[in-house]
């Protein structure tokens, strides 16, 4: 992929100005180093409404196929034309050309001035086991605008994967978007069959899940280490950015990017743990190191023991890094407001004290707490109650408009269309779902967890419970519960692999058929349409590591989200 981007630049001779869609530049940085771009004579800019000031006569635009970006490009070209500047323009769409975008270019009479190409980047690996389609707005576009472009994109990405890993024999989908993706994928397989003689496909099962099915989980505050980092500091493209002073580097006001991925061994070990436990683990590690140090300096040691010690010293920078980060996080987690919020989330999920919740949220509005924080709880409140009684609904909407401004009518309208904050029209079935799927688990042991509920200290994410069932036994045993959740569900099995295991394989029966040739476990690809949180990924990793699990789990998502970023997409 990187080569492809370099080639685009190589093929355009001479100095050029590469104007990148800002949303793309983060994800592209995971693939191509910006220094590499400079090597090929490219000056790097972000595409905004502002005209680009440059001496280059060759402009290379690299953008997602988004309508509003076309307007920016048109105005920049118009601007150059007005100034009498003659330039060559190249436009590369990611991942492919779009009729609607080109229509705007045609109407603005710039289409003929452009040389148009494609940069087929459909998905980006964020980590060993996480793939992202980088579709930030997928969820909102689907549920609010009815624009299902992203669904085709997702199906296409999965279909492309199939060309390397073989046709996925089992597909289980829940939710309107998911079943549609399964459907489109099916059509693609018919149009362009994956001709493979690879034998048993590496990916045994595809589970597709709409974010819409479980909007409760992302609204709750994540309590895993990585989840908390995202909640408070915002993890972007596998890194957090923070003041260098926090990391113990004395450079005034300078921002520092701290990479967070599984190549950091310590991070790999602790990222999925509950934060409480992370603190303990770090303390233990530091203590044992201190001990080693005292021994080293007081007693005579053999060379091999010295060597071991030095080896441990190598992990010191990682230790320091995470201790710094953890300390920084704990300044947030120890705040009473955070603890109060956790309490309220728990109360909302338990859904048994309507008035307490109502008053808490009302007070938040009156205190004009940040809108997104209010909306997060409000959405949680609305979903667990299947909407609010009309009187309360109208009252809270009015209070919101009064407190935050009337322009938020659009936000409220979006949330209503998405079914996230709405009028009650039926009795809530949340309690039934909660009970049937054991979403609230008493006495969760966060240190030695035996259930996924550890990631939210007592709440087991609904989405992952569904995945758990889907892997274990397919949808059939929980069909009654699925019917209580939004959207249809589907389950298909491709014939052609006469020997593929049936749905009803007993969990843990690692039969030979599920093993890929070289003894690795076969894979389950879990795709979240509308985003997934780090806590949910952690829960999946936990499932994958359980004894008796027959599969490795790979996560695909439109974007890594948290309650904040998810709500943000609805705010206009």
């Amino acid at each position: 992929m990187a080569q492809k981007q370099i080639n685009i630049l190589k093929n355009i001779r001479g100095k050029k100005c590469l104007v990148i869609d800002p949303k793309l530049s983060g994800s592209l940085s995971l693939i191509v180093q910006s220094s590499q771009l400079k090597e090929h004579g490219a000056e790097l800019r972000h595409l905004t409404t502002e005209p680009v000031e440059t001496d280059c006569t060759k402009m290379v635009y690299l953008v997602r196929a988004q309508l509003n970006l076309m307007k920016f490009i048109c105005s920049q070209i118009h601007n150059d034309t007005l100034k009498g500047l003659q330039k060559e323009y190249f436009l590369y769409f990611v991942p492919r050309r779009a009729v609607a975008c080109e229509k705007i270019l045609e109407d603005e009479k710039v289409h003929e001035m452009l040389i148009i190409g494609e940069y087929p980047l459909y998905l980006i690996p964020l980590d060993e086991d996480v793939l992202s389609f980088e579709l930030d707005l997928a969820h909102k576009e689907c549920v609010v605008n009815g624009d299902t472009t992203s669904l085709w994109h997702i199906a296409k990405s999965i279909h492309k994967l199939e060309f390397s890993f073989g046709t996925i024999p089992n597909v289980r989908a829940k939710g309107k978007a998911s079943t549609r993706v399964a459907d489109i994928l099916n059509r693609m397989q018919a149009e362009e069959p994956v001709t493979s003689d690879m034998g048993i496909p590496e990916i045994n099962t595809l589970i597709l899940l709409d974010r819409e099915v479980d909007m409760v989980t992302p609204m709750c505050s994540q309590l895993t280490y990585e989840g908390l980092l995202d909640e408070f500091l915002g993890v972007n493209n596998g890194a957090v950015e923070l003041d260098s002073s926090i990391m113990g580097v004395q450079q005034e006001g300078k921002k520092l990017k701290v990479p967070l991925n599984s190549s950091d061994k310590l991070f790999k070990e602790i990222r999925d743990m509950n934060f409480e436990v992370v603190v303990q683990v770090l303390r233990q590690k530091a203590t044992s190191m201190k001990q080693d140090y005292t021994e080293i300096s007081t007693t005579t040691q053999s060379v091999s023991e010295l060597k071991d010690f030095v080896k441990k010293l190598n992990s010191l920078p990682e230790m320091t890094r995470h201790i710094n980060l953890a300390q920084h996080l704990s300044t947030f987690t120890s705040k009473p407001s955070f603890l109060g919020r956790l309490d309220m989330e728990q109360t909302l999920v338990e859904a048994q004290s309507y008035d307490v919740c109502f008053e808490y949220i009302e007070e938040m509005i009156h205190k004009q707490e940040p809108l997104i924080n209010v909306l997060r709880l409000l959405v949680l409140f609305s979903i667990t109650n299947s909407g609010l009684p009309k009187k309360n609904f109208d009252y809270l909407r009015r209070e919101l408009l009064h407190s935050y401004g009337f322009e938020h009518i659009a936000t409220l309208n979006n949330l209503e269309k998405a079914g996230l904050f709405r009028k009650q029209d039926s009795k809530s079935n949340w309690l039934t779902v909660k009970r049937a799927l054991q979403l609230v688990v008493e006495d969760t042991d966060t240190t030695n967890p035996n259930d996924i509920s550890y990631v939210f200290s007592g709440y087991a994410p609904l989405s992952i419970r569904l995945v758990q069932h889907a892997i274990r036994s397919g949808w059939r045993p929980i069909e009654e519960i699925l019917k209580l959740l939004p959207g249809p569900h589907s389950e298909t099995k491709k014939s052609g692999f006469a020997s593929s295991p049936s749905f009803d394989t007993i969990p843990g029966s690692l039969n030979n058929l599920e093993k890929v040739a070289d003894g690795r476990r076969s894979l389950v690809l879990v795709v979240f349409i509308g985003g997934v949180t780090f806590a949910e990924i952690s829960a999946l990793r936990f499932l994958s590591s359980q004894e008796g699990m027959a599969y490795d789990i790979i996560v695909g998502t439109t974007k890594i989200v948290n309650g904040h970023t998810l709500i943000e997409t609805f705010v206009e």
């Binding site: 309508l67 624009d147 085709w152 530091a286 201790i323 007070e363 408009l401």
Partner: protein
């Protein structure tokens, strides 16, 4: 020994044998080669014949109009057409590599015919040829060179891209004795080179120069270049055959003929010998030894091939070629080579008991053991032979297979293959695929050689031509069934055959109704997976069969191919449905824009309103780019609330407009937009809330505008109601704050929060205290505590903490300002053990949290590692 009769038909030229088996008895009747101009295509291609207008011939019972007729190599008529082209006499006629018949008339027009005698193209060699007639031309596979009356030389280097170029002028005063051409692919320059026999030498003419070669070797009467362009055979005025390299650097051999009369035809036979044909004699001359003579009592035409020469006469087609080594090794008289012995062994074996034969077929390897166990007296004679050659058996098998490949006679092929197979049974390490491969090849060759098809390819020609070109030729000849069978047999892609068939079928089936033709087509198209139905449909459309096209495109599985075609044949509604089904929004947009452009707005609106995805995509696009048009759409579909939302949104766009500085008259239009929106909301029954909100918004803007005027501060417009109240309080304007409160019916609860926070902001603690005493606050004293705690005013906070009625709240408030003891007291007063525990924990954690990490860091900061 074996094959006496076979070798008897060979002729020996020095040390090499030649043979000329008859390929066909010509199936045509009354074709006299002498009366016709004839062009024969190599690789067993077709024969074109037309009455020669350069000769005076007697007309029998035939029309005076000339007919161009095209035959297969077996003399079966493929097609004919009346020659009506103007332009004077036909000067040259030849087949190109693509089996296009090229005809050049006197006026320099070049006509292209396909094998169905259909004129497919023509072009002119240019003005000079038009004005001064073309007198002679020399062709090669992909080009032609002409000379006109004024001795100008013109070349068409690429017939696929026909364009004449003039060669360099060589100031001739007379027509050259002879002309030959070296094809561009064999010249150093990559451009065509023309050799002219002039005077006693040869001129080499190129586009940009003339060179004199071989002075004194001529005059040359005839020249012909070998197939690879390296050698030139020529006939001199004094009756000598000269073979030399094309650069005239050395003469390879020379042969003096009995007659000085130049031969009618001069041709290369493969690379080894040269053929000269006079009236009734064909002379084959090789570098050594005596030439071979053949006598013909009827006219013949020599057709050079890569491995020999085909000889066409009025009645037959023969193939003169060197006998391959493998065939010689088997059939040469007296041969005792292993291959000959093997062939002989089969002969003996065939004549032995049926039992052995049966056993042989039963299981070759078991047979071997069986035979070994026979007592020697029972040993079949064949086995004796096999024993003789045991060590070189595989070589013998190979020779038999190879020889079979060169045979045209099917029974001879069979015998040779059986000999090979017989030998193979005794030969453990032999590659069994060889026989299979050869059988496959021969089946294909025999099929196309059949006189109905009439393509007499030798195995070497077949390999040079390649199977896919052969398939294309069969397709062009409309031999679809055979082409399909061969592609299937050889495991080649059948798409090209089916596709071509479908196209021809559609063109040829004007009389067949759509439905039945569709059935016929589908029946065949389904043979080939992944074939493009869209391509066939597109062709049907081009043939004016739109309905058939629509029916065909229905079967196209690729939406991306199907939809553009549906649009081009005017099936927009179907295209829209298919686009939506495909899930590819890009295709939906494609259809959308197409319909948008084509239909009146209202009709367009109706179309998309019925299809949610199309509608949603349109709205998304229009929201970004065609705002006004979107309003029309919503109005036409009665979605007044959506128009209202749009108007409301516009009012904010106005606000964002930098021209609209705050407090400017632009508020007029803004408010009007909002009021319009409010009106629209109120027209629908379900949007009372929005209607009220819009009303309030308009009212708020007015109030804020007035406030900005009175306070002379542009800080109110576009803040929320709550913010406006807070700003007023901060500014000390309590009366206006109160007015806004009543105007918008702000609840007491919210009012208390707002005022408390506003007062804390300006740190007016006295006013705050006064406010707390106005009346019993509706939400208690907690807001007061919070405001003071947030402002870090512990003393102020304490004033209100004591007033908190709920001991739990009190406990937590104490805790927040760090008064642990009081907190604990309050908690115990509340008799809430859980709370107490939690508070303790909070304290512990808070203290511990920092100390823990401090200690951790201390521990790690040794020896400069950090």
């Amino acid at each position: 020994m074996a094959g006496v009769s076979v070798a008897a038909e060979w002729q020996l030229l020095y040390n090499r044998y030649y043979r000329k088996p008859e390929l066909y008895q010509m199936q045509w009747k009354h074709v006299d080669l002498t009366r016709n101009k004839v062009a024969c295509a190599p690789f067993g291609g077709p024969i074109a014949a037309i009455r020669d207008d350069a000769k005076i011939v007697q007309l029998f019972a035939e029309s005076a109009l000339r007919k161009l007729r095209i035959f297969t190599s077996s003399g079966r008529l493929i097609s004919e057409t009346v020659w009506k082209n103007p332009g004077g006499r036909l000067i040259g006629m030849s087949w190109s590599d693509d089996q296009i018949l090229i005809c050049i008339t006197q006026d320099g027009t070049v006509y292209f015919y396909n094998i169905h005698a259909e004129l497919i193209n023509n072009f002119s060699l240019g003005k000079e040829c038009f004005e001064s007639s073309v007198v002679e031309c020399v062709f090669w596979g992909n080009g032609v060179v002409c000379i006109n009356e004024l001795f100008g030389i013109f070349a068409v280097p690429d017939l696929k891209n026909p364009r004449a170029i003039k060669m360099s002028d060589c100031n001739l005063e007379d027509l050259p004795h002879c002309i030959a051409v070296i094809e561009p692919q064999y010249t150093m320059s990559g451009n065509v080179e023309v050799l002219l026999g002039v005077g006693d030498h040869v001129l080499l003419v190129e586009e940009d120069g003339v060179q004199q070669l071989g002075v004194g070797i001529g005059p040359l009467q005839k020249m012909v270049v070998s197939r690879t362009g390296k050698l030139l055979a020529s006939f001199t005025h004094d009756g000598r055959l000269l073979v030399m390299s094309t650069d005239f650097s050395n003469i390879i051999f020379e042969y003096t003929c009995e007659s000085a009369l130049p031969p009618d035809q001069l041709a290369w036979c493969g690379m080894d010998s040269v053929l000269l044909y006079w009236d009734d004699m064909l002379l084959m001359v090789g570098p050594y030894g005596d030439p071979v003579r053949y006598i013909y009592d009827e006219p013949i035409i020599l057709i050079p091939e890569c491995d020999g020469v085909r000889i066409l006469s009025n009645t037959s087609m023969e193939f003169l070629h060197r006998v391959p080594d493998s065939t010689v090794s088997i059939f040469q008289i007296g041969s005792t080579l292993p291959a000959a012995l093997l062939y002989d062994a089969l002969d003996h074996f065939d004549r032995r008991s049926a039992k052995v034969v049966y056993l042989y077929y039963l299981n070759a390897s078991r047979n071997y053991i069986l035979m070994k166990s026979f007592s020697s007296s029972y040993l079949p004679l064949g086995y004796e032979n096999l024993r003789l050659i045991r060590s070189s058996l595989s070589e013998a098998v190979e020779a038999c297979i190879d020889a079979a490949g060169y045979e045209f006679d099917i029974s001879q092929q069979r015998t040779l293959l059986r000999a090979a197979s017989y030998g193979q049974a005794f030969c453990s390490q032999f590659q069994r695929d060889f026989i299979q491969e050869m059988c496959k090849t021969l089946r294909v060759l025999n099929a196309v050689r059949h006189h109905e098809i009439g393509i007499p390819l030798s195995i070497q020609q077949y390999k040079l031509l390649t199977p896919s070109v052969l398939i294309n030729r069969l397709i062009n000849a409309h031999k679809y069934l055979l082409a399909l069978r061969i592609t299937e047999y050889l495991g080649m892609n059948q798409e090209v055959v089916i596709m071509h068939w479908a196209c021809t079928k559609i063109t040829a089936s004007l009389g067949i109704p759509d439905a039945s033709l569709l059935e016929i087509l589908l029946d065949k198209l389904k043979i080939c997976k992944g074939i493009s139905y869209a391509a066939v449909a597109s062709l049907a459309d081009k043939n004016g069969r739109r309905k058939l096209a629509a029916m065909l495109v229905e079967h196209e599985p690729h939406s991306s191919k199907q939809i553009p075609l549906l649009l081009s044949i005017g099936e927009e509604d179907t295209a829209l449905v298919k686009g939506i089904e495909s899930g590819d929004t890009d295709l939906v947009y494609l259809v959308l824009f197409h319909i948008w452009q084509k239909r009146p707005s209202l009709e367009f609106f109706g179309t998309i309103q019925a299809r949610p995805l199309a509608r949603d995509l349109f709205v998304t696009y229009a929201q970004c780019y065609k705002h006004e048009f979107l309003k029309d759409f919503f109005l036409s579909t009665g979605q007044l609330q959506d128009v209202a939302f749009l108007l409301w949104k516009e009012s904010w766009e106005l606000a964002k407009n930098p021209m609209a500085s705050k407090g400017s008259p632009l508020h007029g239009p803004r408010i009007k937009l909002i009021e319009k929106a409010q009106q629209l909301f109120s027209e629908t029954k379900e949007h009372i809330f929005e209607s009220k909100a819009a009303e309030e918004h308009a009212k708020l803007l007015r109030i804020q505008h007035d406030l900005e005027v009175t306070t002379k501060q542009a800080i109110f417009v576009d803040s929320s109601i709550s913010d406006t109240i807070r700003t007023c309080i901060v500014l000390g304007n309590h009366r206006t704050a109160m007015k806004v409160k009543t105007e918008f019916k702000v609840s007491e609860r919210r009012w208390y929060w707002l005022k408390v926070f506003a007062l804390a902001t300006i740190r007016d603690w006295d006013a705050l205290e006064k406010f707390s005493k106005e009346k019993r606050p509706p939400i208690g004293y907690r807001p007061f505590v919070e405001a003071c705690v947030d402002a870090d005013e512990k003393a102020e906070a304490l004033k209100y903490i004591t007033k908190l009625t709920d001991p739990r709240e009190r406990a937590e408030a104490y805790a927040r300002i760090g008064m642990a003891k009081e907190a604990a007291d309050a908690a115990s007063q509340a008799k809430d053990g859980e709370l107490l525990g939690r508070l303790k924990l909070t304290f512990a954690q808070n203290a511990a949290a920092s100390s823990i990490f401090d200690t951790l860091r201390d521990r790690l900061s040794f020896q400069g590692v950090s």
